[in-house]
Symmetry: C2
Subunit: 227 residues, 2 copies
DNA sequence: TCAATAGTTGACCATTCGGTCAGATTCTTC
DNA sequence: GAAGAATCTGACCGAATGGTCAACTATTGA
């Protein structure tokens, strides 16, 4: 299952992922992780303080360290969680699939990620803004291969005339940026639109918009596709 | 000239923008501002330390405070600088302009911003990730009006059949996110593509890609436009 | 029941944080 | 070259930082 390749150099494998632990531990760890995700997403690794995380979780600082060991270990564990959710989306595609279906499903699932896990998206964004000190290996390894494999399929479609011969990597970046924008820049989106929050039908409307632009923009046939 | 509306509550107007000061002051302030932009962009407001900024600028910490007064004043001044560059792009458009020309110029100028001032873009991104504590007023005021005025023009074009009736605000967000991506997520882009840096022709290629997707995706006539 | 294990937490530590200040040095101006 | 302004900076301050630890309580299993 790969895990998020190295991810720094801390040994964190003592309780690796699915291990349960007591019911108390499970509940407290979940609460700490959720609180930490919010604080790290907002203030970045250096800007987040254990005190702030502890207060957000409603626990004394010592308790946070009791469960998480150190600030770095906590941060790395959060990143691993983000990468894990990311990997769920890693279902394979082939040249035999329908471009319109694959692209629209891709856009939809990325929009749902932004909708369901905005904090995770922001945490990732913050890590990248810092220069990706902990995720270098992931970017240059797993994620790069993922992009390359998709790119090859896109190129195949283009050769068969199913879509315009656009640069596949740029296309992937376009979809990533446009979808993540609504999580990472939520404050900007809300400020400009004057809304308090984005509702389900906003997301639906934006998804439809992006799908239309991308499919039409790439010259993908949408015959027989419900949009 | 509007300035960046309030921007926090610190009184920073003692040396407002174009005021020169001695040659020494001018040089040192510039060096400090450039260093601070890098550090704030990477670590966020809370994560950036005056010590780190001072080292980056090659000056003692006391000197930074001598010129900038306080951490908050330094940060606000940087944001004002970013907004100022932003406002340069604020040239007006009208329904009489050619949609293809306006949209492609818009994409090009945003890509150039990402190319020329990546640190400024990241600083802005970091501020938004924090929930835009200092830029709330700017977002809800100036920027909102800017978006609305553009949206009205886009709608006019759609009514006259010059482009598809897509949601103009979503379109603006799409262009913003896609272009800023190459500055804000540079570490990701470089990691995935395995490059050391993005060159001028990369930017040119990406600009052409985005222009093609957006124009075609919006159903804009590109007759007689050099692309 | 009772010992072992797990969980809790305040006191404390060295370091770093943003910021102040006094005194030294350098630059300008006449 | 002297007076005054601008610049420079090490010493220092209280508060906050990440982290340790020992003493304590709660839970669990035999």
């Amino acid at each position: 299952m790969a895990k998020a390749s190295q991810v720094g150099s801390t040994t964190l494998d003592r309780d690796n992922g699915q291990e349960a632990g007591g019911a108390i531990r499970q509940r407290n760890e979940r609460e700490i992780l959720e609180a930490a995700e919010r604080v790290f997403a907002r203030h970045g690794y250096r800007g987040a303080s254990l005190q702030a995380i502890a207060e957000e979780a409603g626990l004394p600082k010592s308790n946070v360290l009791y469960y998480m060991g150190s600030k770095k270990a906590l941060y790395v564990r959060l990143l691993e969680g983000v990468m894990e959710r990311w990997n769920i989306m890693l279902d394979d595609i082939s040249e035999d699939d329908d471009p319109a279906e694959v692209l629209s499903a891709f856009i939809r699932s990325k929009m749902e990620m932004s909708r369901l896990y905005p904090q995770a998206s922001r945490l990732f964004a913050s890590e990248i803004l810092q220069g990706a000190p902990f995720l270098q290996d992931f970017l240059r390894g797993e994620l790069r291969e993922w992009v390359e494999s998709r790119a090859k399929v896109f190129r195949g479609w283009a050769e068969r005339g199913l879509m315009d011969p656009v640069d596949p990597v740029s296309l992937i970046f376009l979809i990533w940026s446009a979808t993540q924008h609504y999580a990472d820049f939520e404050a900007q989106v809300l400020g400009i639109t004057g809304r308090d929050a984005l509702e389900d039908d906003d997301i639906e409307r934006i998804t439809a918009f992006l799908t239309q632009i991308v499919l039409k923009g790439c010259g993908v046939e949408t015959a027989g596709l419900r949009l």
